[in-house]
Every structure is written in structure tokens, then in C-alpha cells.
Amino acid sequence: MLSANMLSEIFEYLELNEIITISSVCRKYRLASNKPSLYKREYIRLFMADSEISQHPSSEWRNLCIRALQINFNQLSFQSPYLNRSDIKFFFNELTSTLQSPDLVFPELRRDYLSFPTLIQDLLGNPNPLERNQYPQVTKKFNTKFNQIKYFFELNPSDFLTNFLQPLSKMIKSQIVNYCKAVDLAIYESISPIEEYMKYWEIYGFTIKKMYTLLYPFMEYFNAELCKNMFENMNFMKFMIQIWIENVFMTRREQIFKEIERVNWKIVEKGVNTIGVFRFKAFIESFLDLSLNEVTLHFKNHSRLQVKGPYRDIHEKVVEFFNVESTLKKIDLDVLDNLYLVWPCVTYRKIVENVINICRNVVEKENFEASANDGDFLIELKAKNLGFSLEDVHKVDRCLNVPIIGFHDDLRSFHNEKCK
């Protein structure tokens, strides 16, 4: 007679489908098949890149596995007049295998580093034909099919949307959401969460690029559909990023902030080595990716960086941390420049006061007409912290001629003077 413990050990040698099947044999088998490590191992084996299995796995892995199998099952049952079952299987296999084992090129080489510092900017900046050439075999198969589908779309657009595009979008979304939940769990259970976070973000970014390329012939329909039904100005990339933010970033937020604080202390203690800088810079870049908006495309040499979301939150934390005179004196600004990409708002009241006064003069002198600029948060944040009125902040925001680069220079010389 097999004991429940022995059964659990035996199930280690079975595949996910078989474990699920066996769990329906009887209560004892069901109990024995409930071992979280079984599901974590199988989920990772089937759907994710190798993860560090370091901490006691959560029972949530079982639900993720079941959900993943359900999604696979639904995908295979998906009936469409446009794509047959093998096409659907091909597409989702491509999605799964990319998430599971991407052809990870060294990230820095993958990007056009001189022009675009982040992955998503790279995707925006390097239009699809270049990307498509990276996966000639896959895109060849799909493009032929997609061209036929485009023809169907022209014949009957509403049928195309209802019977093809919407269910396909839902399936992609459900698979990606489930994957992101698993990533979140893997990060949570890892002993080096930030490394895990970065690894999975690189894979995810790569997958976004690849899916974008594969689905390119449909992108305009996809984007129009998303925009119409979900959010304004939504597109495929933003949609994918939003899923990541909701399911990974937001739940790991505190952990990430803690890590940033740890690095900040290292900066103060001058304990950041070259490798550390390199890795952390990539980490910060990933948040720029998440904070994407159209303006960030022009980020390179763009002094009035406009970003939202995670990057802004992180920036606030950095400002908060370094906004102490004793800390500021100790730091190396070059290291900060390197790590945080934009010069963090490490300022003193006096400097901000000066800049805002300059802005006031410019506004008054030139009778500057307000523009619909969202604002330069570098100044906005600090000004708010220092008790300036919103009106002052807006004046600065609206003034296109404010010498922001000069502002940074002022800060630097002020800092250097202080540190002498």
C-alpha cells in the first residue's frame, strides 16, 4: 500500500497533466498531489525560464498550473474561420516558448544603445521590418496567413473583430496575466529577488518585441480595438506593460523600493562597484520602460523628461533619500548620473529657489503664454517639497525656455562647492 508521502514522491516523476489526472482518482491521491513544489517545478519547466527554487513554494503554484492548463486547453479549442487549430497552436507555442526560453541576447547589445536607452524605446524607435528580419522563419509562416486574414477583414470587419481579434486578444491576455502572476511568485520566493525581477523583465520585454513582430500585420486593428474597448491611447505594448505593472511591479513595489534604498546607501558609502552600477542601471531602465509614454521616445538628450508611474515613484524615493545635506555631501554625482539616468533631484532649497526665480523672470519678461505641458517633475517635485505654490510650479512647467540643463549645471557646481 502506497502511503500519501510516498505517492507525493512518485508524483515528482509525472508530468503536470498526469498529476492533475491522478488527483481525480481518489481523495488520497488528491491529497498526495497537492504538494506545492510539484506544481512550482512543473510550471517553471513548462512555462518559465529556470528559476531559483530557494524558498518553500506557495500553494498558489497549483492554481497557476491549473489555470495554465485551462488556458492551453481553451487555446487549442479556439475555433476561427481565419486561423485553424494548428495555426493557433503554432502562435501560442511561439508565445510560450519565448516566455519559457527566450533567445536571450545580451540585453545591452540587443538595444540600439546610442539612440534608445530602454527596451521599449528601442521597439518604438526601430520599426518592425528590422524586427521581422530577426525571426524570418516564424514571420514567413504567419505573414502569409495574415495577409489572407487581412482580406477577410476587408470583407467583413465586424465579424473579424468579434470572431477573431477579440477572442485572440483575450487568450493572449489570459496567458500573459497567468505568467506574470507566476513571475511575481517566483520573485517573492527567490533569495535574490531583484536579479529574478530583472531576468524576467528582460524575458518579458523580449517577448513583447517578438509578439509585436509576429502580430505586426494586425497591430493597427489590435491597437484600435484596445483603444476603443479598454483605454484611450492604449496600444499593444502599453497593454502588455500594464499587465506587468499590475501583476508584478505593484505587488513587488515595497521590495523594489527597499532594494533601491539599499543601493542608495551603497552610493553614500561608495560601495557601488562597476558591475553593481551596470546591473542597477539596467534595473532603473526597466522602470523607464514601464513608465513609457510617447514623450519618453525622445528621452535621449531630452532635458525635460516626462515619465509617469513606476519611474516617477522611484524618483521620488531617491529624492527623499538624498535630500539630506549630510548625505548629499558624501555622494559621487557621476555614480548617481549613471545609476538613475537622469540627474536626480538632489537639491537644496537655495538652488531651487534660484531656478524658480529665474523662471519667474522669464515668464514675466517674455510674457510667456502657457502651453499644455505636463510639467517637468524634476522641478515640480522638489518645488512642492519645499513649499512652493502650485502656481509657481506651473510657471516653471509652462516655460519652454527655462534653461533646465543650466539648472543641472548649477546644481552640480553648487554641490561641488559644498563638498570642497
Binding site: 500500500m1 502506497l2 510516498m6 514522491e9 512518485i10 508524483f11 515528482e12 516523476y13 509525472l14 508530468e15 497533466n17 498526469e18 492533475i20 489526472t21 491522478i22 481525480s24 482518482v25 481518489c26 481523495r27 491521491y29 512543473e42 519547466r45 491549473i66 492548463l69 485551462q70 492551453n72 486547453f73 487549442l76
Partner: protein, 165 residues
């Protein structure tokens, strides 16, 4: 020290190379405080199992062999192990003997042989549907018809997974 004496639960003594500690965590720990010519009592291991364990250990020259494939890819154990002798070894045993051997290897903390036995049992489960497993293991229905239906609707691939590939 070249040889140690193991005593089965029936009291039968067997002499074996101390290198056996490479395969058994239990023996490895015992040998830390071992006095020459001291008997090592294995109260949970029968003489028959001990003989099989030693046969396995001698075949592998007291070195840990490559583990079976995990998860297994075929219901035939020979396809899942690198040494065909291992497959022949476990195929000689019936299910009760394998379970006994698992218990003995668990006592001896002998992971390599235990893994082989577990993989062999897993092969007996491989590719079998719910009804076959219930019949083979004499399991009477424990789920109500409602639960059964719910399981089928929750896990449709349990019935249909094979046809999808």
C-alpha cells in the same frame, strides 16, 4: 577501515565495503563515530531487501549513479534510466517488493535507489486514465457523482489531453 558489518532486522549479518557510505546517508553518519568491528543494526531493513540493496551498490561500484529522468518520458523504465542494468533490476520486482525497497532505502537515506524505485512506480501511472488507475489499485469510488462531474468540468484536459497533441 575497509569493511563494515550490517545486521538485517532478522539478525543476519552481511559484510560490505565501507564505501557503501557513498550511497547511504544513514551509514555515512554512523561511520562518523564507528568503532572497528562494531555491528550496524538496520532494524527496518529485511535480509532480502538488504541483499538487493547490496547488489545495487556493488553493481554501481559504490558510486552514485545518474538519476532517472524527471519527469519520466515513457512508461518503460528502461527509457528513463541511463544504465540498462537499473531497469532490469527494478523490473524483476513486483509492486509490493518495490514498495518494501522504497521503505528500506528511505531508512538508509539511499536516495539513488529510492529514486529508481519511485520512477519505476511512476512508470506504472504514466499514461493511465482515472478509471484504469482505480481498477488497477482497487480504489472504490470516493467522490460523489457531483464532485466527479465538477472535476471533469474543471479539468477537461484530464480526459482529453492526449487527443490534443
Amino acid at each position: 577501515m575497509s569493511e563494515i558489518t550490517l545486521v538485517s532486522k532478522e539478525g543476519t549479518k552481511i559484510q560490505i565495503s565501507s564505501q557503501f557510505s557513498n550511497l547511504s546517508g544513514f551509514i555515512h553518519n554512523i561511520l562518523q563515530d564507528y568503532q572497528q568491528n562494531e555491528d550496524i543494526s538496520l532494524a527496518s531493513v529485511s535480509f532480502i531487501n538488504l541483499q538487493m540493496i547490496l547488489e545495487y551498490a556493488v553493481h554501481h561500484n559504490f558510486q552514485v549513479p545518474q538519476p532517472p529522468r524527471c519527469p519520466i518520458t515513457s512508461p518503460n523504465i528502461a527509457d528513463n534510466v541511463s544504465d540498462p542494468w537499473d531497469a532490469e533490476f527494478v523490473n524483476r520486482l513486483n509492486e509490493d517488493q518495490i514498495i518494501d525497497l522504497v521503505t528500506a532505502t528511505n531508512f538508509l537515506d539511499m536516495k539513488s535507489l529510492m529514486d529508481l524505485c519511485l520512477a519505476k512506480i511512476a512508470c506504472m501511472f504514466k499514461y493511465k486514465d482515472i478509471e484504469t488507475l482505480r481498477k488497477e489499485y482497487g480504489i472504490t469510488e470516493e467522490f460523489t457523482a457531483e464532485i466527479e462531474e465538477k472535476l471533469k468540468s474543471d479539468f477537461p484536459w484530464a480526459m482529453e489531453a492526449e487527443s490534443n497533441d
